[in-house]
Symmetry: C2
Protein backbone atom coordinates (compact mmCIF):
# COMPACT_ATOMS: atom_id res chain seq x y z
CA UNK A 1 0.00 0.00 0.00
CA UNK A 2 1.60 3.21 -1.20
CA UNK A 3 -0.58 5.76 0.61
CA UNK A 4 0.40 7.45 3.87
CA UNK A 5 -3.14 8.70 4.58
CA UNK A 6 -4.81 6.28 6.96
CA UNK A 7 -7.64 4.09 5.60
CA UNK A 8 -10.31 5.72 7.81
CA UNK A 9 -9.51 9.10 6.28
CA UNK A 10 -9.43 7.57 2.79
CA UNK A 11 -12.94 6.23 3.35
CA UNK A 12 -14.20 9.50 4.83
CA UNK A 13 -12.91 11.68 1.98
CA UNK A 14 -13.14 9.42 -1.09
CA UNK A 15 -14.00 5.74 -0.84
CA UNK A 16 -17.24 5.95 1.15
CA UNK A 17 -18.15 9.60 0.47
CA UNK A 18 -20.91 10.07 -2.07
CA UNK A 19 -23.06 12.81 -3.60
CA UNK A 20 -26.42 12.61 -1.76
CA UNK A 21 -29.82 12.95 -3.37
CA UNK A 22 -31.61 13.26 0.02
CA UNK A 23 -30.70 14.79 3.39
CA UNK A 24 -31.69 14.50 7.04
CA UNK A 25 -33.02 17.65 8.71
CA UNK A 26 -29.96 18.05 10.95
CA UNK A 27 -28.71 21.61 10.51
CA UNK A 28 -25.22 22.52 9.32
CA UNK A 29 -23.82 25.11 11.72
CA UNK A 30 -21.64 28.14 11.07
CA UNK A 31 -19.07 26.52 13.37
CA UNK A 32 -18.85 23.54 11.01
CA UNK A 33 -18.46 25.81 7.98
CA UNK A 34 -15.77 27.82 9.78
CA UNK A 35 -13.88 24.63 10.63
CA UNK A 36 -14.06 23.57 6.97
CA UNK A 37 -12.71 26.95 5.89
CA UNK A 38 -9.93 26.86 8.49
CA UNK A 39 -8.76 23.60 6.93
CA UNK A 40 -9.19 24.06 3.19
CA UNK A 41 -8.03 27.67 3.04
CA UNK A 42 -4.52 26.18 2.86
CA UNK A 43 -5.13 24.48 -0.49
CA UNK A 44 -2.79 25.81 -3.19
CA UNK A 45 -3.74 28.46 -5.77
CA UNK A 46 -1.58 30.29 -8.31
CA UNK A 47 0.12 33.30 -6.70
CA UNK A 48 -1.93 32.43 -3.58
CA UNK A 49 -4.77 34.33 -5.22
CA UNK A 50 -7.54 32.53 -3.27
CA UNK A 51 -10.32 33.73 -5.62
CA UNK A 52 -13.16 31.56 -4.24
CA UNK A 53 -16.05 33.33 -2.51
CA UNK A 54 -18.96 31.50 -0.92
CA UNK A 55 -22.54 32.64 -0.35
CA UNK A 56 -24.34 30.61 2.34
CA UNK A 57 -28.05 30.52 1.51
CA UNK A 58 -29.66 30.29 4.95
CA UNK A 59 -32.92 32.25 4.86
CA UNK A 60 -36.12 30.72 3.48
CA UNK A 61 -36.66 33.61 1.08
CA UNK A 62 -33.12 33.37 -0.34
CA UNK A 63 -33.51 29.60 -0.72
CA UNK A 64 -36.69 30.16 -2.69
CA UNK A 65 -34.95 32.69 -4.93
CA UNK A 66 -32.12 30.21 -5.57
CA UNK A 67 -34.31 27.16 -6.24
CA UNK A 68 -36.09 28.87 -9.10
CA UNK A 69 -32.74 29.22 -10.95
CA UNK A 70 -31.83 25.54 -10.52
CA UNK A 71 -32.40 22.98 -13.28
CA UNK A 72 -35.65 21.05 -12.68
CA UNK A 73 -33.75 17.89 -11.68
CA UNK A 74 -31.88 19.85 -8.97
CA UNK A 75 -34.77 21.85 -7.48
CA UNK A 76 -36.16 19.39 -4.92
CA UNK A 77 -32.78 18.54 -3.37
CA UNK A 78 -31.69 22.19 -3.34
CA UNK A 79 -34.93 23.05 -1.55
CA UNK A 80 -34.44 20.23 0.98
CA UNK A 81 -30.71 20.44 1.82
CA UNK A 82 -29.94 21.76 5.35
CA UNK A 83 -27.47 24.24 3.84
CA UNK A 84 -26.80 25.40 0.28
CA UNK A 85 -23.67 27.30 -0.78
CA UNK A 86 -23.14 29.31 -3.96
CA UNK A 87 -19.47 29.12 -4.96
CA UNK A 88 -18.15 31.97 -7.11
CA UNK A 89 -14.90 33.67 -8.09
CA UNK A 90 -13.90 37.22 -7.28
CA UNK A 91 -12.55 38.50 -10.59
CA UNK A 92 -11.02 41.48 -8.79
CA UNK A 93 -8.96 39.17 -6.55
CA UNK A 94 -5.77 40.99 -7.55
CA UNK A 95 -6.65 43.86 -5.20
CA UNK A 96 -5.83 41.57 -2.25
CA UNK A 97 -2.55 40.20 -3.66
CA UNK A 98 -0.23 42.69 -1.93
CA UNK A 99 -1.50 41.20 1.35
CA UNK A 100 -1.82 37.55 0.22
CA UNK A 101 1.50 37.39 -1.60
CA UNK A 102 4.00 39.45 0.40
CA UNK A 103 6.98 37.94 -1.49
CA UNK A 104 5.71 39.37 -4.82
CA UNK A 105 3.18 42.12 -4.07
CA UNK A 106 3.65 43.66 -7.51
CA UNK A 107 1.92 40.58 -9.05
CA UNK A 108 -1.26 42.65 -8.78
CA UNK A 109 -0.06 44.89 -11.60
CA UNK A 110 2.66 42.85 -13.31
CA UNK A 111 0.70 39.62 -13.78
CA UNK A 112 -2.98 40.48 -13.27
CA UNK A 113 -3.57 43.95 -14.75
CA UNK A 114 -5.90 42.47 -17.41
CA UNK A 115 -9.45 41.55 -16.46
CA UNK A 116 -9.43 38.79 -19.09
CA UNK A 117 -6.33 37.23 -17.54
CA UNK A 118 -7.89 37.52 -14.08
CA UNK A 119 -11.15 35.88 -15.13
CA UNK A 120 -9.33 32.93 -16.68
CA UNK A 121 -7.03 32.49 -13.69
CA UNK A 122 -9.81 32.99 -11.13
CA UNK A 123 -11.88 30.34 -12.84
CA UNK A 124 -9.08 27.74 -12.80
CA UNK A 125 -8.06 28.47 -9.23
CA UNK A 126 -11.62 28.96 -8.00
CA UNK A 127 -12.58 25.49 -9.26
CA UNK A 128 -9.50 24.00 -7.55
CA UNK A 129 -10.69 25.67 -4.34
CA UNK A 130 -14.23 24.39 -4.95
CA UNK A 131 -12.82 20.85 -4.93
CA UNK A 132 -10.88 21.56 -1.73
CA UNK A 133 -14.17 22.79 -0.23
CA UNK A 134 -15.98 19.58 -1.23
CA UNK A 135 -13.19 17.58 0.45
CA UNK A 136 -13.51 19.86 3.48
CA UNK A 137 -17.25 19.24 3.75
CA UNK A 138 -16.48 15.53 3.84
CA UNK A 139 -13.73 16.13 6.42
CA UNK A 140 -16.47 17.57 8.65
CA UNK A 141 -18.40 14.29 8.36
CA UNK A 142 -20.97 15.85 6.04
CA UNK A 143 -21.96 15.07 2.47
CA UNK A 144 -21.57 17.53 -0.42
CA UNK A 145 -23.79 17.67 -3.50
CA UNK A 146 -22.02 19.88 -6.10
CA UNK A 147 -24.20 20.98 -9.03
CA UNK A 148 -23.58 22.97 -12.20
CA UNK A 149 -27.14 22.51 -13.44
CA UNK A 150 -28.50 26.03 -12.90
CA UNK A 151 -29.05 29.29 -14.73
CA UNK A 152 -25.65 30.97 -14.35
CA UNK A 153 -26.66 34.52 -15.38
CA UNK A 154 -29.78 34.18 -13.22
CA UNK A 155 -27.82 33.18 -10.09
CA UNK A 156 -25.25 35.90 -10.76
CA UNK A 157 -27.92 38.59 -11.11
CA UNK A 158 -29.86 37.33 -8.08
CA UNK A 159 -26.99 36.89 -5.60
CA UNK A 160 -23.72 38.31 -6.96
CA UNK A 161 -22.48 41.29 -8.96
CA UNK A 162 -20.54 41.93 -12.18
CA UNK A 163 -17.23 41.10 -10.49
CA UNK A 164 -18.28 37.65 -9.27
CA UNK A 165 -18.84 34.64 -11.54
CA UNK A 166 -20.75 31.61 -10.21
CA UNK A 167 -18.94 28.25 -10.41
CA UNK A 168 -21.06 25.68 -8.58
CA UNK A 169 -23.95 25.37 -6.16
CA UNK A 170 -23.29 22.84 -3.37
CA UNK A 171 -25.88 21.13 -1.17
CA UNK A 172 -24.50 20.27 2.28
CA UNK A 173 -25.87 18.05 5.03
CA UNK A 174 -26.12 14.51 6.34
CA UNK A 175 -27.35 11.92 3.83
CA UNK A 176 -30.99 10.91 4.30
CA UNK A 177 -32.87 7.72 3.41
CA UNK A 178 -32.07 6.47 -0.10
CA UNK A 179 -29.38 9.13 -0.49
CA UNK A 180 -27.65 7.17 -3.24
CA UNK A 181 -27.79 4.08 -5.37
CA UNK A 182 -25.00 1.79 -6.47
CA UNK A 183 -21.61 3.44 -6.97
CA UNK A 184 -20.99 4.12 -10.68
CA UNK A 185 -17.86 2.57 -12.25
CA UNK A 186 -14.56 4.44 -12.48
CA UNK A 187 -11.74 4.23 -15.01
CA UNK A 188 -8.81 1.90 -14.46
CA UNK A 189 -5.30 3.31 -14.23
CA UNK A 190 -4.42 2.53 -17.84
CA UNK A 191 -7.49 4.37 -19.13
CA UNK A 192 -6.46 7.64 -17.48
CA UNK A 193 -2.65 7.56 -17.50
CA UNK A 194 -0.21 7.60 -20.41
CA UNK A 195 3.57 7.53 -19.95
CA UNK A 196 5.99 9.32 -22.28
Amino acid sequence: MSLVLDPTAQDLLFREARTPQTFTEEPVTDEQVQAIHDLVKYGPTAFNQCPLRITLVRSAEARERLVKHMAPANQAKTAAAPLVAILSTDNEFHEELPRLLPVFPQAKDVVFASREVRERSARLNGVLQAAYFIIGVRAAGLAAGPMDGFDFPGVQAEFLDDDHTPLLVVNIGRPGPGAWGERAPRFGFEEVFTTV
Copy 2:
Protein backbone atom coordinates in the same frame (compact mmCIF):
# COMPACT_ATOMS: atom_id res chain seq x y z
CA MET B 1 -13.54 21.11 16.96
CA SER B 2 -16.09 20.49 14.20
CA LEU B 3 -14.01 18.26 11.91
CA VAL B 4 -14.22 14.48 11.87
CA LEU B 5 -10.99 14.05 9.90
CA ASP B 6 -8.17 13.35 12.34
CA PRO B 7 -5.53 16.06 12.88
CA THR B 8 -2.69 13.98 11.38
CA ALA B 9 -4.63 13.70 8.12
CA GLN B 10 -5.50 17.42 8.26
CA ASP B 11 -1.80 18.22 8.51
CA LEU B 12 -0.83 15.78 5.76
CA LEU B 13 -3.38 17.09 3.25
CA PHE B 14 -3.69 20.80 4.08
CA ARG B 15 -2.04 22.34 7.13
CA GLU B 16 1.54 21.18 6.61
CA ALA B 17 1.40 20.40 2.88
CA ARG B 18 3.04 23.00 0.69
CA THR B 19 3.98 23.62 -2.95
CA PRO B 20 7.71 22.76 -3.21
CA GLN B 21 10.28 24.74 -5.15
CA THR B 22 12.95 22.00 -4.79
CA PHE B 23 12.87 18.19 -4.66
CA THR B 24 15.00 15.31 -3.43
CA GLU B 25 16.11 12.76 -6.05
CA GLU B 26 13.91 10.00 -4.61
CA PRO B 27 11.87 8.59 -7.51
CA VAL B 28 8.08 8.53 -7.62
CA THR B 29 7.01 5.02 -8.60
CA ASP B 30 4.16 3.84 -10.80
CA GLU B 31 2.87 1.97 -7.73
CA GLN B 32 2.53 5.29 -5.89
CA VAL B 33 0.72 6.91 -8.82
CA GLN B 34 -1.61 3.91 -9.09
CA ALA B 35 -2.42 4.13 -5.38
CA ILE B 36 -3.20 7.84 -5.80
CA HIS B 37 -5.50 7.06 -8.74
CA ASP B 38 -7.23 4.24 -6.85
CA LEU B 39 -8.13 6.77 -4.16
CA VAL B 40 -9.01 9.95 -6.02
CA LYS B 41 -10.88 8.30 -8.88
CA TYR B 42 -13.87 8.36 -6.52
CA GLY B 43 -14.02 12.17 -6.40
CA PRO B 44 -17.34 13.47 -7.77
CA THR B 45 -17.81 14.81 -11.32
CA ALA B 46 -21.01 15.83 -13.14
CA PHE B 47 -22.69 12.77 -14.68
CA ASN B 48 -19.62 10.81 -13.47
CA GLN B 49 -17.91 12.04 -16.63
CA CYS B 50 -14.35 11.65 -15.23
CA PRO B 51 -12.79 13.79 -18.01
CA LEU B 52 -9.27 14.09 -16.52
CA ARG B 53 -6.42 12.42 -18.38
CA ILE B 54 -2.83 12.40 -17.13
CA THR B 55 0.41 12.14 -19.07
CA LEU B 56 3.35 11.03 -16.92
CA VAL B 57 6.52 12.57 -18.30
CA ARG B 58 9.16 9.96 -17.40
CA SER B 59 11.76 9.88 -20.20
CA ALA B 60 14.60 12.40 -20.37
CA GLU B 61 13.72 13.40 -23.92
CA ALA B 62 10.05 14.01 -23.08
CA ARG B 63 11.07 16.04 -20.02
CA GLU B 64 13.27 18.19 -22.22
CA ARG B 65 10.41 18.73 -24.68
CA LEU B 66 8.12 19.77 -21.83
CA VAL B 67 10.56 22.10 -20.09
CA LYS B 68 10.95 24.27 -23.18
CA HIS B 69 7.19 25.05 -23.08
CA MET B 70 7.24 26.06 -19.40
CA ALA B 71 7.41 29.71 -18.30
CA PRO B 72 11.00 30.66 -17.42
CA ALA B 73 10.23 30.75 -13.68
CA ASN B 74 8.96 27.14 -13.85
CA GLN B 75 11.69 25.57 -16.01
CA ALA B 76 14.30 24.65 -13.38
CA LYS B 77 11.86 22.97 -11.01
CA THR B 78 10.09 21.15 -13.86
CA ALA B 79 13.48 19.86 -15.03
CA ALA B 80 14.42 18.76 -11.48
CA ALA B 81 11.21 17.15 -10.18
CA PRO B 82 11.33 13.35 -9.86
CA LEU B 83 8.07 13.09 -11.79
CA VAL B 84 6.06 15.58 -13.84
CA ALA B 85 2.44 15.05 -14.90
CA ILE B 86 0.51 16.88 -17.62
CA LEU B 87 -3.17 17.08 -16.63
CA SER B 88 -5.66 17.48 -19.47
CA THR B 89 -9.33 16.94 -20.29
CA ASP B 90 -10.74 14.50 -22.81
CA ASN B 91 -13.30 16.58 -24.67
CA GLU B 92 -14.76 13.40 -26.16
CA PHE B 93 -15.48 12.00 -22.69
CA HIS B 94 -19.12 11.43 -23.63
CA GLU B 95 -18.15 8.33 -25.60
CA GLU B 96 -17.50 6.55 -22.28
CA LEU B 97 -20.69 7.69 -20.53
CA PRO B 98 -22.80 4.63 -21.37
CA ARG B 99 -20.26 2.64 -19.32
CA LEU B 100 -19.57 5.26 -16.59
CA LEU B 101 -23.20 6.23 -16.03
CA PRO B 102 -25.30 3.07 -16.34
CA VAL B 103 -28.33 4.77 -14.73
CA PHE B 104 -28.53 7.34 -17.55
CA PRO B 105 -26.52 6.04 -20.53
CA GLN B 106 -28.38 8.32 -22.93
CA ALA B 107 -26.63 11.34 -21.33
CA LYS B 108 -24.02 10.88 -24.07
CA ASP B 109 -26.51 12.14 -26.66
CA VAL B 110 -29.15 13.97 -24.60
CA VAL B 111 -26.79 16.17 -22.55
CA PHE B 112 -23.42 16.11 -24.30
CA ALA B 113 -24.07 16.06 -28.05
CA SER B 114 -22.47 19.51 -28.44
CA ARG B 115 -18.68 19.80 -28.42
CA GLU B 116 -18.95 23.29 -26.92
CA VAL B 117 -21.01 21.94 -24.00
CA ARG B 118 -18.52 19.10 -23.55
CA GLU B 119 -15.49 21.41 -23.52
CA ARG B 120 -17.05 23.65 -20.88
CA SER B 121 -18.14 20.73 -18.72
CA ALA B 122 -14.86 18.84 -19.14
CA ARG B 123 -12.92 21.92 -18.07
CA LEU B 124 -14.97 22.41 -14.88
CA ASN B 125 -14.93 18.75 -13.94
CA GLY B 126 -11.35 18.19 -15.07
CA VAL B 127 -10.14 20.98 -12.77
CA LEU B 128 -12.14 19.49 -9.87
CA GLN B 129 -10.37 16.19 -10.58
CA ALA B 130 -7.03 18.01 -10.80
CA ALA B 131 -7.58 19.22 -7.23
CA TYR B 132 -8.50 15.69 -6.10
CA PHE B 133 -5.24 14.52 -7.71
CA ILE B 134 -3.22 17.16 -5.81
CA ILE B 135 -4.85 15.96 -2.58
CA GLY B 136 -4.06 12.38 -3.61
CA VAL B 137 -0.38 13.18 -4.16
CA ARG B 138 -0.31 14.54 -0.62
CA ALA B 139 -2.16 11.45 0.63
CA ALA B 140 0.80 9.44 -0.70
CA GLY B 141 3.16 11.50 1.46
CA LEU B 142 4.48 13.40 -1.56
CA ALA B 143 4.42 17.08 -2.45
CA ALA B 144 2.63 18.49 -5.51
CA GLY B 145 3.67 21.60 -7.43
CA PRO B 146 0.75 22.56 -9.71
CA MET B 147 1.60 25.12 -12.42
CA ASP B 148 -0.39 26.92 -15.09
CA GLY B 149 2.60 28.94 -16.25
CA PHE B 150 3.29 27.26 -19.60
CA ASP B 151 2.54 27.58 -23.30
CA PHE B 152 -0.83 25.82 -23.53
CA PRO B 153 -0.97 25.41 -27.35
CA GLY B 154 2.69 24.31 -27.28
CA VAL B 155 2.09 21.58 -24.68
CA GLN B 156 -1.08 20.48 -26.48
CA ALA B 157 0.74 20.18 -29.84
CA GLU B 158 3.75 18.46 -28.27
CA PHE B 159 1.99 15.87 -26.09
CA LEU B 160 -1.77 15.79 -26.77
CA ASP B 161 -4.18 16.03 -29.71
CA ASP B 162 -7.12 18.18 -30.79
CA ASP B 163 -9.49 16.36 -28.42
CA HIS B 164 -7.40 16.97 -25.29
CA THR B 165 -6.99 20.37 -23.60
CA PRO B 166 -4.17 20.89 -21.08
CA LEU B 167 -5.21 22.13 -17.61
CA LEU B 168 -2.13 22.07 -15.39
CA VAL B 169 1.38 20.67 -15.18
CA VAL B 170 2.18 19.17 -11.77
CA ASN B 171 5.63 18.49 -10.31
CA ILE B 172 5.64 15.54 -7.90
CA GLY B 173 8.25 14.37 -5.40
CA ARG B 174 9.63 14.79 -1.92
CA PRO B 175 10.48 18.36 -0.92
CA GLY B 176 14.22 19.12 -1.01
CA PRO B 177 16.35 21.65 0.91
CA GLY B 178 14.75 25.11 1.01
CA ALA B 179 11.58 23.76 -0.63
CA TRP B 180 9.51 26.66 0.67
CA GLY B 181 9.61 29.91 2.60
CA GLU B 182 7.16 31.26 5.13
CA ARG B 183 3.52 30.28 4.57
CA ALA B 184 1.62 33.14 2.86
CA PRO B 185 -1.46 34.53 4.66
CA ARG B 186 -4.96 33.25 3.98
CA PHE B 187 -8.36 34.98 4.17
CA GLY B 188 -10.40 34.88 7.34
CA PHE B 189 -13.88 33.34 7.32
CA GLU B 190 -15.67 36.68 7.00
CA GLU B 191 -13.64 37.65 3.95
CA VAL B 192 -14.73 34.59 1.98
CA PHE B 193 -18.25 33.87 3.26
CA THR B 194 -21.46 35.90 2.97
CA THR B 195 -24.78 34.73 4.40
CA VAL B 196 -28.13 35.50 2.77
